[in-house]
C-alpha cells in the first residue's frame, strides 16, 4: 500500500488547474446539496410542525354528501341540517378517548361567514370552540398574540381572527369591533380579543375563532357540533389510527396527513426537484473528475508501464488513479461542507418577510447533520464512479506496448 500512496500522492499535483476546477465542482455540488436540502426540509418541517400543533391530528366530521339523492331526504324524512352535525358527539368523544393513543378531544362547530369592518369585508371560516376543552386537543394558544384564549370564555362576543383576516380588514388592536354576518343573514357585533398567527398563510387568512356556545346560539344549533378534533400520542401514526377508528363510527375519520395530502405531495415533488438539481450538479462535476483522471491516465501511460515493470500489480495501478478521484471527492466535499455551513450561517442572519405557504421573518433552516453526511456520501460516490473507468483503463494497459512505442 505504501508504494501506491507514494505514487498517488505525486499524481495529485499533476494538472493542477484542472484538479482545482474539479474540486470546485464537487464543492459546489456538496454546498448546493447542503443548503438546498436544509432550506427545503427546514421549510417543510416548519410547516408540518405548525400543522401538527394547530390542526387536529385526527378529526371526525360528517361524510361529505357529494352524490346524495335529494329525494332520499324527502322520503326518509330527515332535515338537511342533519347532514351537518355529529349526532351523539359526546358519546363519540367518550368512546374514542378510551383508546390509549388518544390524548385529548374537543368539539368544534364550523360555519361560513363574512367579517365586516366599515366597508371592508372578508369571507371567513368560523370555528366555534370550547376554550377549556380546546387546550386538550390542540395548542392554538401558542399561536395567539396575547395568549388570550380564556377571554373567549368571559367575553362571549369575543372573536379571534387570523392575523391576515385582521390585516385585510385593517384591524390591528385588541378591542376593535367587527360585524359577523352569517349565511342566513343574521349578524353579530363581535369584539376582537386576540389575533391568531400560525405563520401558515392558508389558515391565517380565513380562520376566525369564536366561543362554540355563541355560534350554537346564533345558528340555533344548541348543543351541536359538526367536527370533533383529537390529539394523539404519536402524530406519525395518525393515518393508521384514523383507519382503525373509522371502524367505530359512520362519520368520516380523517388524519392530518390526509387533510394536508396536497401539501405533502407538493413537498415530495419539491424534494424530487431539489434532488435532481443537485444530482445534475454532481453529474457535471463527475464528468470533470472523469476527464481529468482520464487525461492523467493517458499522459502517464509511460509511467504506468514503468511502474508495472517495477512490480506494481494492475490492482496497485487501479488504486493509484482511484485515489486521485477520491482525493478530489474528499477535498471537494470538505470545502463544500465549509461553504455550506457558511451559507447556512449567512442565510440565518438574513431578515426578510417570507410570504408564501408560510410566513416567517427569514429562512427557516433545518441544520441537521444528516444533510452534511448525505452530501459527503454522494460526492464520494460520484467521484468513485467517475474514476473507476479511467483507473481500470490504466490498470489494463500492457507495458510492452508502451516500451515498444518509445
Amino acid at each position: 500500500m505504501r508504494h501506491v500512496l507514494f505514487v498517488a500522492f505525486k499524481l495529485l499535483f499533476e494538472r493542477k488547474r484542472q484538479t482545482i476546477i474539479s474540486i470546485i465542482g464537487v464543492s459546489i455540488g456538496v454546498c448546493a446539496y447542503i443548503v438546498m436540502s436544509s432550506l427545503m426540509f427546514g421549510f417543510q418541517k416548519f410547516f408540518i410542525q405548525q400543522v401538527i400543533d394547530i390542526e387536529p391530528h385526527i378529526k371526525v366530521k360528517p361524510k361529505e354528501s357529494t352524490n346524495q339523492n335529494p329525494h332520499k331526504e324527502l322520503i326518509l324524512g330527515y332535515k338537511s341540517e342533519d347532514k351537518d352535525k355529529i349526532m351523539g358527539w359526546q358519546d363519540l368523544i367518550e368512546n374514542f378517548s378510551k383508546h390509549e393513543e388518544i390524548k385529548g378531544a374537543a368539539p368544534h362547530l364550523l360555519a361560513r361567514g363574512i367579517l365586516k369592518q366599515g366597508i371592508k369585508e372578508k369571507p371567513v371560516s368560523i370555528v366555534g370552540i370550547d376554550p377549556a376543552r380546546e387546550a386538550q386537543a390542540s395548542v392554538i394558544e401558542r399561536f395567539l398574540r396575547y395568549k388570550n384564549l380564556r377571554e373567549l370564555e368571559s367575553n362571549r362576543l369575543g372573536v379571534i381572527p387570523g392575523i391576515l383576516v385582521a390585516k385585510s380588514l385593517g384591524v390591528n388592536k385588541k378591542g376593535e369591533t367587527l360585524l359577523l354576518v352569517l349565511p342566513d343573514g343574521q349578524t353579530l357585533d363581535t369584539k376582537v380579543v386576540d389575533f391568531f398567527d400560525s405563520g401558515i398563510t392558508n389558515l391565517d387568512e380565513v380562520r376566525v375563532y369564536i366561543h362554540i356556545k355563541t355560534l350554537q346560539g346564533i345558528l340555533n344549533k344548541h348543543g351541536q357540533a359538526n367536527e370533533i378534533v383529537f390529539k394523539i400520542k404519536d402524530v406519525n401514526r395518525a393515518e393508521r389510527l384514523a383507519r382503525e377508528l373509522q371502524q367505530r363510527t359512520t362519520y368520516e375519520v380523517e388524519s392530518w396527513q390526509k387533510a394536508y395530502k396536497n401539501f405533502l405531495s407538493i413537498f415530495k415533488i419539491q424534494n424530487t426537484i431539489t434532488f435532481m438539481i443537485v444530482f445534475a450538479i454532481l453529474v457535471v462535476s463527475s464528468f470533470g473528475i472523469f476527464n481529468i483522471i482520464m487525461m492523467t491516465v493517458l499522459e502517464k501511460k509511460r509511467d504506468t508501464a514503468i511502474l508495472m515493470a517495477l512490480g506494481f500489480t494492475p490492482r496497485d495501478i487501479m488504486l493509484t488513479f482511484l485515489l486521485k478521484g477520491l482525493f478530489i471527492g474528499a477535498l471537494g466535499s470538505m470545502i463544500g461542507v465549509i461553504l455550506g455551513y457558511g451559507m447556512q450561517e449567512y442565510l440565518e442572519t438574513i431578515r426578510l418577510d417570507v410570504e408564501g405557504l408560510i410566513r416567517s421573518k427569514g429562512f427557516v433552516l433545518d441544520r441537521s447533520i444528516a444533510h452534511y453526511i448525505y452530501g459527503i456520501v454522494f460526492s464520494f460516490f460520484f467521484s468513485l464512479i467517475a474514476s473507476i473507468y479511467p483507473a481500470y483503463r490504466a490498470s489494463s494497459l500492457n507495458p510492452v506496448d508502451i516500451f515498444r512505442s518509445q
Partner: protein
Amino acid sequence: MRILTLTGIKKKIGSEEILKGIDLTINRGEFVAILGASGSGKSSLLYIAGLLDAPSEGEVHLLEQKVDFSKKSKLSYLRNKHLGFVFQFHFLLPEFTLLENVMLPALKSNKDQKEIKERALQLIEFLGLKEKINRRVYQLSGGEMQRTAIARALINNPELLLADEPTGSLDSKNTQRVMEIFKKVNELGTTILMVTHELELTRHTTRIIEVKDGLIIRQTPN
C-alpha cells in the same frame, strides 16, 4: 543454479513470427549479452525473459519455477522481487527526486522505510550520484539518469538484471562508465542479461548469444 530457463519460446505478433523457438539457460553469476541487428527480436526476447510479455509458445522458468503468465499479480510480484530493469531510455518518473526514484520498487516490500533509504543511499554512492539525491529527474544529465535507473534496478537485490540497450542513448564516456558499473555489479554477484547490437559492448560479458530473425544463431563463451 539456473536463474532463468527459456524453452521453445515462440512469439507471434499478428501473423508475423518474431521469435521462432528460443532455448536459453542463464546460470547464476553469468553476464550474458544478446547480440543482434535491429529487428532481430532481441527486445521481444527480453520482455519475455523479464515476464513483461507472454510467449505464444514455450515455457519460462524463473529460479527453477515454472512461470504462469496468466497470473498478472504474481508476475508483478516476481518482477519486483527477483528482476531489475534498465532500458535504453532511463524511464525515471519525472515527478520524483533521484532518491525517491531509487527507493520506489522497494516500497512494495514490507521492509522498513529507513532501511530502504539506507540501501538506496549506499547504491547511489556506489554509482557516484551522492551529491544529486534531491534533484528532480530533469535536473540530471543523461548519464546520471541512466545510473539512477541502474540504482533503481538494483534496490531489491534482484536475482537477474535485465538491460535493453542500456547505453543506447549515451555518449562514449558514459557508455564506458555504465559498462564498468555492470561489470562491477556482476562481479559482486548479480546475474545480468543485456541486449545490444554493438559487439564492442560485449567485452565484459561471460557469454554472447547472437540472434537473427528470431532464432539463436551462435553462442560463444567469452
